[in-house]
Amino acid sequence: MKKNKQVYRFAAYKGALDMLPLSLAVLPWGILFGSLAVQRGFSWLEAQAFSAIAFGGAVQIVAIELIADDASLWTILFSALVITSRHFLYGLTLRERLKKQPLRWRLSLGFLLTDELFALSGHRHAYKNRLRLYYALGAGGSFYIAWNLWTFIGIVAGAYLPDLTDLGLDFAIAATFIALVVPNIKTLPVLITVVVAGIASVTFATLGLELGLIMAGLLAMTAGFSANLWKRSR
């Protein structure tokens, strides 16, 4: 029994370690959020509570700007829905693996299901056994702690810190995602998916489209799925 506990703890540590580059990569954004919130007149408790309860990254930054500009509640909520909409896709993708797990696992991992945790969910056995659930808890939980810590630093010291978002820490996100995607390009449909996603996302980003990410994702999935159908029909 004791041994089991150690194994699960090890799995959680492994998850946290794999998440580390991503946890560090969002430091500038956490600090930006914390300091921006204080600048816009939020109390430190409100700012910290936002990170602790919502855990929403880009949504939080957009929301505080909108709240500070006295936007209507509906505008704020609609913007949040637009930016967060890609998470529906993550839940749908992981549905078959997670829907039979106990409620406490679904609630906690659901709460922690960010882009970053989804990125670490590609393993064949992801979420299928207890060890893998603890791995995800370690990965998602450590990212949650990091995001709240960066927020706290931003609240307390944001006024004294330079803008770190130009430092290039976000390259760690790109490198991690490359590490997760490239080894899985083993079939033509997956290659087509990646190429379409790359071209579409860059095109939409240069056009400044708010829904560019999810549109590029769905377009690429359609391309990969179609290529797969075509491959099997031959």
Partner: protein, 102 residues
């Protein structure tokens, strides 16, 4: 009022993450839907990652001086040859720092 707004935003975010993990939700994913969703990983990850590398201030940046580009190529080769996340991130970040310091 601020707390209510924060709470409502939190509810929207949590709903978007949790909704489809709920087994009681009356949807069944057929073979085609599962096939389609099997491409979501590479599709979304690539769609998040490529604009970081290629786009700066809404502009396409394919200049040789773009440190993201050189470092990304090193990462792609490292991922392809080693298949290891630590090598890929380590080498990429190293090249990124060296590249950026010129």
């Amino acid at each position: 009022m601020t707390y209510i707004t924060i709470l409502l935003v939190a509810v929207i975010i949590f709903t978007s993450r949790y909704l489809f993990l709920e087994g009681k939700l009356p949807i069944r994913l057929g073979t085609n839907a599962r096939d389609f969703l099997s491409f979501s990983g590479p599709a979304v990850l690539t769609a998040i990652c490529m604009p970081i590398i290629f786009v700066k201030d809404d502009q396409l940046n394919i200049a040789i001086s773009n440190p993201y580009l050189g470092a990304a190529i090193v990462s792609i080769v490292a991922a392809w040859k080693t298949g290891n996340i630590y090598w890929t991130v380590g080498l990429g970040v190293l090249v990124f720092i060296v590249y950026g310091s010129f």
